[in-house]
């Protein structure tokens, strides 16, 4: 399995395929948002119905996992979900999935990691840091290692699933050329992509709301 290829170099920084494919995903999402926003009607058409379903569904999920008072997290979580989802299923169109690069998933996991502790400290003040020394203070190193393991396990889960999926897809496409890769692609690209992006967002929501209260 080769790593992502370097497309070009900008001021000495290598710009890899993962970065370029993430730009493509971002462009698709921005264009989609602008197009859907332009023609909002009281009696929604097909596209607007799907968009409203998405927003309503996500509002419901955030309400049920984080509680009514944390509804302000909904736009961030929905953005994270859509970004990871589109990054995962871009593999169907022949691009290299950006999420099968550990740097990308570690970036997403670090965003969650910093928001966990930022919102924890913001909600509870210094009492949040006291939580590390419970139940007894001897256990503090274990708690801190546990906290540091969270972004590692979050990023490794997404990375391993997507990389494993693309390795297996490459093996299947090499072995059988007809029909079988299409069926396997439904599971490895579509199902596992949707599931993993959902799980990443769900775990982020659970961790942040746990840190807050």
């Amino acid at each position: 399995m080769q790593g992502p290829k370097t497309v070009f170099t900008l001021f000495g920084f290598p710009i890899t395929e993962s970065v370029v494919n993430t730009w493509i995903v971002m462009a698709v999402l921005i264009i989609l948002a602008l197009v859907l926003r332009r023609r909002l009607e009281l009696r929604p058409g097909k596209a607007q119905n799907i968009a409203e379903l998405l927003v309503d569904g996500f509002t419901g999920i955030v309400k049920s996992t984080m509680g009514e008072k944390n509804i302000g997290f909904m736009p961030y979580m929905a953005t994270l979900f859509l970004l990871i989802l589109f990054s995962n299923i871009i593999g169907i169109f022949g691009f290299r999935t950006p999420t099968s690069d550990i740097n990308v998933t570690l970036g997403y996991a670090l965003m969650t990691f910093f928001s966990i502790h930022f919102f924890g400290v913001k909600a509870k003040g210094l009492g949040y840091l006291k939580g590390f020394f419970e139940p007894i203070f001897v256990i503090a190193p274990i708690n801190i290692i546990g906290e540091l393991a969270r972004p590692v396990s979050l990023s490794m889960r997404l990375f391993g699933n997507m990389l494993g999926g693309s390795v297996i897809m490459a093996l299947i496409s090499g072995a059988v050329a007809l029909f079988v890769p299409a069926v396997a692609s439904i599971y490895f690209d579509l199902f596992s992509g949707i599931l993993q992006s959902f799980i990443f967002t769900m775990l982020s929501m659970v961790f942040i709301s746990l840190a807050k209260d």
Binding site: M1, S64, S153, M156, R157, G160, L163, G164, I199
Partner: protein, 85 residues
């Protein structure tokens, strides 16, 4: 004792295979979670959506160890392909 490149590569590949034995654990764990999920749905069919989400979350967390072993196996394969270059 002499270490040549092929012995090192062969043992690294063997290690990759052994690392994937860890796949047994998540399989058992996920199957257990799925079985309990079916039990819970049959007992309380109206809570189906919540149970489904909870089951998937638990399975995703149980999967972590298997994914670690997969990442280690892929790292070893990369090591071998770098060694032979």
């Amino acid at each position: 004792m002499e270490h040549n490149i092929f012995t090192v590569g062969a043992f690294a590949l063997l290690g990759a295979g052994i690392a994937m034995i860890a796949g047994i654990g998540p399989a058992i764990g996920q199957g257990y979670a799925a079985g309990k999920g079916v039990e819970a749905v049959s007992r309380q069919p109206e809570a189906r959506n919540d149970l489904w989400v909870t089951m998937l979350m638990g399975q995703a967390v149980a999967e972590t160890t298997g994914i670690y072993s997969l990442v280690i196996a892929i790292m070893l394969l990369n090591f071998v392909s770098g060694l032979l270059k």
